[in-house]
Amino acid sequence: MAEVEAPKLPSGVRKKLMFVNRKAPHGTIYALEALEVVLISAAFEQEVCLAFLDDGVFQLVKGQNTQAIGTKNFAPTYRALGDYEITRLYVERESLAERGLATADLMPIVHEDPDDADEEKPSIQVVGRAEMATLMAEQDVLLSF
């Protein structure tokens, strides 16, 4: 139940969790499942970030409309991640380029500036492949979807 207090790891340990998204959104259930686990993980007060690489970058493309394929359009939910204090969405530059995409093709996703509640900061950070590898190597746990 939502009213139950957030579960805590022993001694309040905060782990670095990265959800690695590598699949396009609507052909398989991976992207939606990942998003649901991400939302649940937010209740555990861990350091959560998301990585989008390979076809995973398609999850953040703007203008997705699933009406005619009769499935839930969960794309707008990425824009709610800031409310869940998930403020780091790393997108791999090479993966975008390989797919003919540019940063401008992605949905604007923002979160509240912790220093100023009236200001918003972008959540998406486009990083190169080497930097993505470094970010992965900094995590305690990598969850692949």
Partner: protein
């Protein structure tokens, strides 16, 4: 019971009372769901229910309680963006009960 009935029309719900089809929802149905939850809907309840529907419409997700409190605070101020205030309106859990009345799916992470 697996469906709410209004004037001979029935609207399916799951075993916990959440509407199966988001599009079925209307204010009369909300009143019926609220009655099952033993809640008399006041203007304050409606404010939360409508807020949840707008949140869902925007983000396609029912917010977790923590998120609801924060978003209510931003929209209506500290008095209403308050866990205690929301529990007074929806004693069995604001996210859970208010979402049900608003015709939304059970919030993700609400196990």
């Amino acid at each position: 019971m697996t469906a709410y009935v209004i004037n001979g029309s029935s609207f399916e719900h799951d075993e916990e009372g959440y509407l199966k089809n988001l599009a079925d929802w209307n204010k009369d149905l909300a009143e019926i769901i609220a009655k099952d939850e033993k809640i008399d809907l006041t203007a304050e309840h409606w404010e939360v229910v409508n807020f949840l529907r707008e949140y869902y419409d925007e983000y396609q997700v029912a917010p977790a309680i923590r998120v609801l409190v924060k978003a209510m605070k931003k929209a209506f101020g500290a008095e209403k963006g308050d866990q205690k205030y929301l529990y007074q309106l929806f004693p069995y859990g604001p996210a859970k009960q208010a979402c049900k009345i608003a015709g939304l799916p059970k919030p993700t992470g609400c196990v």
